[in-house]
């Protein structure tokens, strides 16, 4: 092992460097200079994101605790891009509401550390690294949920989040300990070789799965989601719903496809039931929401159910479709959350009926919101359609037609509530419509990036083909 091999951790090191620079900045800047942290951090992250497009070899570090390959690397870059968009969308909120309180740097540091956590989590080669990554992902976000220190629901949401997630990680740990008991190793690779279908292993798996399912907010482990999203600042909810969920899905997929492959007959059925429960619960709750954050929370629960469809096909197809869909989902959800954020910072309104007549006052925002929602609902030619259709394909490739049928029924239900928002924006007219406002520069940039993602990622097939070409790297 030489120093050059640390280049495999390039993206992680990059993030660490950003964190350090931010801390240094925080220490040495005076009060007037504080506002400069926003462009500073954004530029740094943008550089890191762009660097992520350089190719990287696959390999292992620390005796297999950390491993990377093209797929993971691609996914990290995607997450980084997502966080960049998210930060662009929150920049103006920070500038207006937070800079005076000297907490802007804090926000960046917390978000970026959480991003670092997701990197480690998905790159983990053993359960220890996985656990550290998981906690590193969770804890900063818990702090961020309580970021609005004077808002009661914010504090409430944070309490619910931190305690539930502690319970979840406790359960996951307990599960890992049982798995460790049956195999005697915490390394993914060696565990995959040893693991056999014993009762203890299955019990361990169930505990472990529940912990991860909590992060992805699968039913019945999802209850925290809506409350926390509602309490959290919008961009934090957005982070939870796209970045942290996306990373958790990918690591779940990796673990199921490699480590837990011997248990496949069992987890297959568990996932089958969980998918159905998650989709129905998410959709049924989403139908009657008025608060958009809560609405998007349930919608993202339902989306999680869709993502898991890809797990039903334990092969390259499943991997590709999941990674692809998560990428698409990041853009779509960021689009939706971005609009909510923009409207909220301009008018403090977060309810669906506040959006009535929005199109007549703010056509571009409404249009983007519609695109984002339709992408989530899976309407062509937006990216979400392709993502969803390929997930169906993945599930159908193993003959799970009934499951696919249930999924498409749910897609139709989901269209109903997405249309409710579209209806409010386009069909309704209101005297109290939110007046016209021009979003600031960063916000517009963030929204435009999300829109491009929604429009391009589907029709432009090389993206999918690229993911497919790299997705065999970890299955080998």
């Amino acid at each position: 092992m030489n120093l050059e091999s640390f280049l495999l951790m390039r993206s992680e090191i990059g993030l660490l460097a950003i964190l350090l620079l931010l801390i240094i900045f925080e220490i040495f800047s005076n009060k007037k200079q504080k506002a400069a942290v926003i462009p500073f951090a954004l530029i740094l992250l943008a550089i890191n994101t762009v660097l992520g497009f350089l190719p990287l070899e696959s390999g292992e570090l620390f005796g297999g605790m950390f491993r990377t390959n093209a797929l993971l690397y691609f996914f990290k870059t995607t997450l980084s891009l997502g966080v960049l968009i998210l930060l662009l969308q929150s920049a103006d909120w920070l500038k207006e509401k937070v800079v005076d309180e000297n907490k802007a740097t804090e926000f960046f540091i917390l978000i970026i550390s959480s991003l670092l956590g997701t990197y480690f989590m998905i790159s983990a080669g053993d359960f220890l690294m996985f656990y550290i990554g998981l906690e590193l992902t969770t804890l900063p976000v818990a702090a961020l949920v309580a970021y609005d220190t004077y808002k009661r629901i914010s504090a409430e949401g944070a309490v619910k989040y931190i305690l539930s997630s502690a319970l979840a990680s406790g359960a996951a740990l307990f599960g890992i300990s049982l798995l460790y008991a049956t195999t005697g190793t915490i390394y993914f690779e060696s565990m995959a070789e040893i693991l056999a279908s014993s009762n203890l292993a299955i019990l361990g798996f169930i505990f472990f799965f529940s912990g991860l399912a909590f992060k992805i907010s699968l039913a019945p482990f999802h209850f925290w989601t809506a409350d926390v999203y509602e309490g959290a600042p919008i961009n934090v909810a957005s982070y939870l719903s796209v970045i942290s969920k996306g990373a958790a899905v990918v690591i779940l997929m990796i673990l199921l496809f490699t480590v837990f492959k011997p248990l496949m007959p069992v987890w297959n059925k568990i996932i089958y039931i969980v998918i159905i429960a998650t989709m129905f619960i998410g959709n049924l709750f989403a139908i009657r929401q008025q608060n958009l954050k809560r609405f998007l929370a349930y919608s993202s629960i339902a989306q999680a159910g869709f993502i898991l469809l890809g797990l039903m096909s334990v092969d390259q197809l499943g991997t590709t479709t999941i990674v692809y869909f998560v990428a698409v989902y990041i853009f779509s959800n960021l689009g939706a959350f971005g609009v909510v954020q923009a409207v909220s910072s301009a008018s403090d309104k977060e309810n669906i009926n506040d959006y009535e007549g929005l199109y007549r006052t703010n056509p571009k925002l409404s249009l983007l919101m519609m695109l984002a929602l339709f992408s989530l609902a899976g309407i062509p030619p937006l990216a979400g359609f392709f993502g969803k259709f390929f997930l169906y394909t993945a599930a159908a490739s193993q003959g799970y037609y009934i499951l696919v049928f249930i999924a498409v029924v749910n897609a139709t239900i989901s269209l109903y509530y997405y249309l409710l928002v579209v209806r409010a924006m386009f069909l309704r007219q209101s005297d109290q419509a939110i007046p016209y406002f021009k979003s600031p520069f960063y916000m517009r940039l963030g929204l435009i990036l999300a829109a491009i993602g929604i429009l391009v990622a589907g029709v432009y097939s090389p993206i999918y083909d690229y993911i497919f070409s790299i997705s065999n790297t970890f299955l080998n």
């Binding site: 309407i379 062509p380 897609a411 999918y464």
Partner: protein, 315 residues
């Protein structure tokens, strides 16, 4: 650029032009009229070109073109026309042109109206030129959504509910259809070939009877809903009643034909055995629909199915 793809590209260009250049009603309708006029001229041209090409080309489809889209799924953007599609395209462009004229004096959000109308048309045109199941399905769904806005914003009466009902039923149908399409896709290697979405390749394959029996009703119902077959017609009366005139026209004139076209081109063409086995059931259903619909005198569509079924069962 080939003659067929233009049918999709021109509407998209018009939509873009409308989005960026149209400032008011006059400009919006000017752009739409010019664009749809071009479209109409193209369809006339297509008819002649088709007749000319038909004389020398004996393939099922002419003007075919095939571009690989999603390689891993063997999804192609493959297009081609036969007589039916040419006629449907011509019909659509006539109806659209008329629709633009009928909506001449639309005063509420004119630009958006034309954008939706033309976006819808690109879906319809795309549907008729596709020879790939996936591409066809994509265009089919593209055609449905603008409908929501068209009825919901510019409709009359209980427009919101009708629009919602229509959209949900049609999208629900397309959801069912997507299962059917996947079923066909994953059975398209029954003879040992690769999986494919290409309609004509699939038509060569003997899909196992069991699979046909399962997926035929799914595919059929998927298209039958948009063709307003009993008992999936309930979106149609309220949708028609609420829709603005241009949309009503388009609906009766074109969209409902999408269903019939789809039934012929996909359900019965690709799953003949399934069609045969289910024919009694759907025949009864259609016949019932005819009697039932005669009171509304709108059910002429179903009769085509009757005839179609009769001919299928006699084949």
């Amino acid at each position: 650029m080939d003659i067929l793809s233009l049918f999709v590209i021109v509407p998209v260009l018009i939509v873009l032009a409308l989005t960026f250049f149209a400032k008011d009603l006059k400009q919006a309708r000017l752009i739409s009229v010019v664009g749809m006029g071009i479209q109409f001229a193209m369809s006339i041209n297509l008819i002649f070109a088709y007749l000319k090409e038909r004389a020398v080309n004996t393939g099922i489809m002419v003007f075919t073109k095939d571009v690989v889209w999603y390689e891993t799924f063997n999804i192609h953007y493959s297009i081609g026309v036969d007589a039916i599609s040419v006629v449907m395209i011509a019909l659509t462009s006539v109806v659209l042109l008329a629709g633009v004229f009928i909506s001449w004096k639309i005063d509420d959000l004119p630009k958006e109206f034309f954008i939706s109308l033309i976006a819808l048309s690109s879906g319809v045109f795309g549907f008729f030129i596709s020879t790939d199941l996936f591409t066809m399905f994509v265009f089919y769904e593209i055609a449905v959504i603008p409908m929501y806005l068209l009825i919901g914003i510019w409709g009359s009466g209980p427009k919101e509910n009708s629009a919602m009902k229509l959209t949900l039923m049609l999208m629900g149908a397309s959801a069912v259809l997507s299962v059917g399409i996947l079923g066909i896709y994953f059975n398209s290697n029954a003879d040992g070939g690769p999986l494919t979405f290409n309609i004509f390749e699939i038509a060569q394959v003997n899909i196992p009877e069991a699979a046909q029996n399962i997926f035929f009703p799914l595919t059929f119902i998927g298209f039958a809903v948009i063709g307003a077959l009993f008992p999936f017609h309930t979106w149609s009366p309220s949708g028609h009643a609420s829709a603005p005139t241009a949309v009503s026209m388009l609906h009766a004139g074109v969209l409902m034909k999408l269903g019939g076209y789809g039934v012929f081109r996909i359900a019965m063409y690709l799953l003949p055995v399934g069609a045969l086995n289910w024919s009694d059931f759907f025949l009864v259903l259609s016949a019932f629909g005819v009697i039932y619909g005669a009171f509304g005198a709108v059910m002429q569509k179903d009769l085509k199915y009757v005839n179609a079924y009769a001919s299928v069962s006699h084949l």
